[in-house]
Amino acid sequence: MKDLQLNSNRATSDAFKRRVVILGIFFGLILLGLFIRLWNLQVIQGEKFRTLSEDNRIAYRLVQSPRGMVFDSKGELLADNRASFNIYLIREDVKELQETIRLLAEITEQPFEELYKRTRGANPFRPFLIKADISRKTMAFLEEHKPDYPGVFVQVTPLRQYPSRQEASHLLGYMGEISNRQLQRLKKRNYRQGDMLGQYGVERTQEKFLRGQSGFKQVEVDAYGRELRVVRPFVEKPGNNVYLTIDMELQKKAEELFEAHEGSIVILDPSDGAILAMVSKPSFNPNIFASGIDAKSWKGLMKDPLKPLENRAIRGQYPPGSIFKIVMGFAVLNEKIARSNEKIHCHGSFPFGKRIFQDWKKGGHGPIDFIQSIAQSCDVYYYTNGHKLGIKRIAHYSRMFGLGSPTGFGAAEKGGVVPSDAWKRRRFKERWYEGETISVSIGQGFNLITPMQAANLIATVANGGHLWKPYAVKKVLSPRGKTLFESRPRLIRKIPISQKIFRKVREALKEVVHGEKGTAKKARMPDILVAGKTGTAQTVDLKYTGRKKKPEDLPRKFRDHSWFVAFAPYENPTIAIAILGENAGRPGSFFAPYARELISFYLKKNEQRILASNETPEDKRLSANSRAPGNRR
């Protein structure tokens, strides 16, 4: 405390004190200015501002621009938008919350308790969605009673719709409300709680192109939350339009044919891998997802033992059965295991070790060369040559044709199984037995393939060894018609096998349909040569079911899968097709007529188009575009 002694030099002078007083007066005067301003605003003009604040308030309303449309390759509309009316509620504006919610619950057919709870949990100042896509009747009722229920309002937003209802639903996919995880990821890209986005199929993969911009418009609202005028509009920016490679007419035809079956049809353009049709049955109606699927329907779809949401074309894995003989044929000829005219005598069985492998034909096919081994689908021929090839080379040729790994079409695609010694050690921690090679040779061992792989296999045979990556999105155009994306065919690999062998295999496949003893004579067409291969894949060892049993007597899961793959025309293929009947319990030849129908339908249609090609391709594109007005709802 000593150094704090009052030192006259350091003490404040009178002049200093005077300045402090002046400063105080100055401060006081300015504070007085604030006081006057407050008096003016709150007391004199208060009433005016009170009115301003209560009656006409500015509110923000979310505006969702329409999502881009989806078209098929011919410009047929597959997905667009329609106007839907949504009820919103701003809790803070509601006078009698309980009563209002009770009414809303009643007219939207929701349980009161749940709706009340959800409403209580929402931000009281933001519009809260009570129900999307209400009926016109409900809407009329609300409009009429609006003054009685302040805080409730109806807003129009575009809602996804698929005019075709069930067709190509696995390819198109569906919409769903954004999940919390997606929201975390997409927040930066202007996604909000409650937004709908593509959750499956093209809707999902093309989300970034299809999504329309969303934003807020500023509106002046009255005390009841009614819009009086738009203060600052939001300029809509619709999403881009996606054009698929599929031909919707062909797709519809395929769906129609396959209506009563489960399984899949995949049709490819062998010249570049474009998907012309992709059917997976049973299917679903994507429209029920558009405004958010209700829990009951969702549960129903999930619990259905036939799994309608599963896209069997790329996710169904089945033993290939005899269509695997196509791969085997290439291996046998290319590895020079047998010359094509070399005959093997088929007695109807192939003894190996303690086991006897049976041919499907009792008594056997007799002497049989390469062409007939395919045409008649002789098992013994492939038991014999498959044994000589060994599993290593069989696996090598399988992979060469794209089996054992996804074709690259989509992210959720399965790859199937190409069995080998290494695979078996990995999978079962067990070595490979030679007897297993013999089952594999006729597509009946551990091998699994997807319908997409089967279609790609037959397309590759048809085009002379170009293994293309299948694709479904042809191009994406902006609403104004600017090309944003155009897909180019992607070659996975050129099969390193001579054209001579390709010609031989194709000839054999033609014999399947057109030969005297071919297994798919039902696929014959009067004017066009078709090449194909049947396959019947057992799901379980014969000793469990017995050969004689009728398929109807077996439980569904034990019934055979039926395959038919084909291409046409034989000389200059323009269509490749794979049909799989899941647990159809039929021979593969059962589906041969289906293939014939689809081939003839497609070729005839193309022919007509070629005939009518006074129209240049350029015109066609223009006419396709003209069907795509930017803002259709």
Partner: protein
């Protein structure tokens, strides 16, 4: 001890905590983080800091002023390099869970360092250029660093605090006239350095209706909120303007709008009166200070509070351009609260030392 000053401080803090709750109660995120409770915590910590400051003589703080000043300069430089960017400007330094706003400390540092510098002057006659220049440099260094963040409002207030302190010490008339003329001449030049949005904010001050949805929007909404409070206010938690998200930053910079809307003229002039008492008591402390150093400390703190109050309230009443300046003790913010309590602690300290001394001599 100046109990009236302490009472005003506590009342203002309590008002702040309640108004913060009112401002955020419609925002689920803020509410979940209980910003009002955090503010209560900051205020309590601030009160403790205030009390502990009383245990030391204020000369202890002025003795360390240069050191503290250097530390703040280092922090201000650090914030430019590794500061957290909020709303386009770098104002925060992050140390683990703690966030520090060095510009809040800078005003304390400048007050302390100038109190020390001017306080050690023995001469009675007004200052000339020679004595002013070191002070000017000491003030300008942090000011420029703060403006770089960019935080024009805070930078300007710190500079004005320095100016008022210098004026209180006394400046030669000739020098005042020269500087004043130079400032007027340079004003158009300063306009060139302003960012586009800053210019627009200043222009809307003169004509807020010109662009009701642009720059004038916030200002207009704030005026509507204040005015609609009328005499008695809409009642606690009943504000409509503020809860409808018309007002940004309502728990920080626009807290006074919320208060005026909900508590009306009565509420807003009460707060104004509390600030008036507060400033008055601080100035009386300055008048009665034991020495020049103490007096200058009190003047600096008073000026700081005064400037913050008129800038903030002036902004919410449409009298000042919109600059990010909080209402001391009332607005939400940890760094601001604690630095306010420290400042008040220093003023109380000056008052206490005087009395204990005079009682010794009487």
């Amino acid at each position: 001890m100046d109990w009236l000053l302490v009472l005003a401080t506590i009342l203002l803090s309590l008002t702040g905590i309640y108004m913060i709750y009112s401002a955020i109660h419609s925002n689920p995120v803020f509410l979940k983080n209980s910003l009002h409770l955090r503010q209560a915590l900051w205020s309590s910590i601030g009160l403790c800091v205030l009390l502990s400051i009383l245990f030391f003589d204020y000369h202890f703080f002025t003795r360390w002023a240069y050191f503290f000043y250097a530390l703040v300069i280092v922090l201000l430089i650090a914030v430019l390099f590794s500061g957290q960017v909020v709303g386009g400007s770098k104002r925060w330094l992050v140390f683990g869970p703690l966030r520090l706003q060095p510009s809040e400390l800078a005003r304390l540092a400048v007050i302390l360092v100038l109190a020390r510098y001017f306080g050690s002057r023995v001469e009675e006659e007004p200052m000339g250029f020679k004595e002013l220049i070191p002070a000017l440099l000491m003030a300008l260094a942090p000011v420029l660093l703060i403006i770089r963040q960019p935080d024009l409002g805070t930078g300007l207030t710190v500079f004005l605090i320095a100016g008022v302190m210098a004026l209180a010490v006394g400046i030669k008339k000739r020098v005042i006239i020269t500087i004043g003329t130079a400032a007027v001449a340079c004003a158009p030049l300063g306009w060139l350095f302003l960012k586009e949005y800053q210019r627009r904010r200043i222009l809307t001050l003169f004509n807020p209706d010109a662009d009701p949805l642009g720059a004038g929007y916030q200002s207009m909404q704030s005026i509507i909120a204040v005015g609609s409070g009328e005499i008695w206010g809409k009642g606690l938690l009943q504000g409509t303007q503020s809860r409808l998200h018309f007002l940004p930053e309502k728990h920080t910079d626009f807290i006074f709008s919320v208060l005026s809307e909900e508590l009306g003229f009565i509420g807003s002039i009460t707060v104004l009166a509390l600030f008036f008492i507060f400033i008055l008591r601080c100035l009386i402390t300055a008048l009665n200070a034991a020495d020049k150093e103490g007096a200058l400390l009190a003047i600096g703190v008073t000026t700081a509070f005064f400037l913050y109050v008129i800038f903030n309230i002036g902004m919410t009443l449409g009298l000042m351009p919109i600059v990010g300046i909080p209402l001391p003790l009332v607005s939400y913010g940890g760094s601001a609260s604690i630095s306010s309590f420290i400042a008040i602690g220093l003023v109380l300290n000056v008052g206490v030392r005087r009395r204990s001394l005079s009682s010794m001599f009487s």
